[in-house]
Symmetry: C2
Subunit: 215 residues, 2 copies
DNA sequence: TATTTTGTTAAACAAACGTTTAATTAGTAT
DNA sequence: ATACTAATTAAACGTTTGTTTAACAAAATA
């Protein structure tokens, strides 16, 4: 029953090399700053193969954003849409998202750097992702939180803020790696995840404050 | 004594229109995604004027980054390098930076979106800014903080994080404006500044936690 | 085996790119 | 008025851009 294997495999291999090379190049040079010939050379395929598989340069970008948006949204859904307390929900979400960001750091960089730009076709796609994301955060974080504290918090503020907090070491990595090589290596790991959770929940130096409240 | 006024005024006017139009276009379409002819048309100048004033497209980008980096660094210096307590230092810094970000939101978007990209000439310039920024944050925030809490915090983590937190509503504005128009209008204002300070210092829903510690 | 589908290639397309040049205008200084 | 400097212009430079086309190889289907 492997009558399709060889062909499909060949397809998958070339298509995969293209998208892998594209993410790497887009992350370091930007989407508009990367030429299709340069990409074709990096992926070791013929120039025409890119539009053969993806249709256009813009659809290739969309395919990349799709990986990040779908993955990040799925994590938010599975980790936040639960019944347990707010604190552990957020802790788990940050842990999962941190692992995801680390494994997809170039996807993350492309997504964030292209976020403010208005490619005609993609802008609606980004908006639909943002809408779903904000709905989840509103329902699972903001409402429970304001019920607890009394003061309402907007998911339109909290959502981007939390995402940016977690994304920051990856966005600044090209800078920080020059300054303190190695410091950014352990970003995304367990220690880092716990630190983000701590700061988001309890602020900087939150340890003793956390103790103060819990006691 | 105004023998040079008219000439210089004309110069300043054209040069000013170019950099203003450039910031607006770069923020919405990206640096590489904006052509010099498009920019010339938007600034209402001849194409050749751009390289006449700035030398090259890349140097124009550098001039834009310069405005943001110098301004942000100056705020960090003046608001953080003081003798009072950590909490009010951070509060003042966030307030000033928020006002600055709001007044220069397009500069901010250009700086952040071009941050991970490696334009050969500009990469060193960004690194030197990052180095100075991190030195200040280390000396004025991280060291006093770890002396207080006992656990050390890296400025390479805290710096990018705080910057990203404050930048997030501006980076996501093109998205959030579609979802909740008006919500992003008041970003950067006093309420927003106080909220960022609160979250950074005490975490989300920090009010009652702050009370718990202070009492 | 013949046919159709799928992957791959080289070549060409017009359009847009950043940059440079030489000529021209206009305001200032001698 | 003359000479000088700075601002502005139109035109062209050679590359590079994203996209398309037609031809070709190979594998799957019939």
């Amino acid at each position: 029953m492997n009558y399709k294997v060889k062909k499909k495999q060949a397809t998958a291999e070339s298509k995969d090399r293209i998208i892998k090379a594209a993410v790497a190049l887009f992350a370091r040079q930007g989407y508009a700053g990367t030429g299709l010939r340069e990409l074709a050379a990096a992926a070791d395929v013929n120039l025409a193969m890119i539009n053969y598989f993806f249709g256009s340069k813009q659809k290739l970008l969309k395919a990349i954003l799709d990986v990040f948006f779908k993955g990040y949204l799925a994590i938010a859904r599975s980790e936040l849409t639960t019944d347990d307390d707010l604190q552990s929900k957020i802790g788990r979400f940050i842990a999962s998202a941190g692992t995801f960001f680390e494994a997809h750091r170039d996807y993350l960089i492309v997504a964030i750097t292209e976020l403010p730009h208005d490619h005609p076709e993609i802008v609606e796609y980004k908006a639909s992702w943002g809408k779903q994301m904000i709905e989840i955060i509103d329902r699972e974080i903001c409402r429970p939180l304001s019920a607890e504290t009394g003061s309402p918090v907007s998911p339109v503020v909290i959502g981007p803020m939390l995402t940016s907090m977690m994304a920051s070491p990856f966005l600044f990595a090209p800078l920080t790696e020059r300054l303190r090589p190695g410091d950014s290596e352990r970003v995304g790991g367990e220690d880092w995840q716990e630190m983000i959770s701590m700061i988001f929940l309890w602020g900087i130096g939150g340890v003793q404050k956390k103790r103060a409240v819990l006691s």
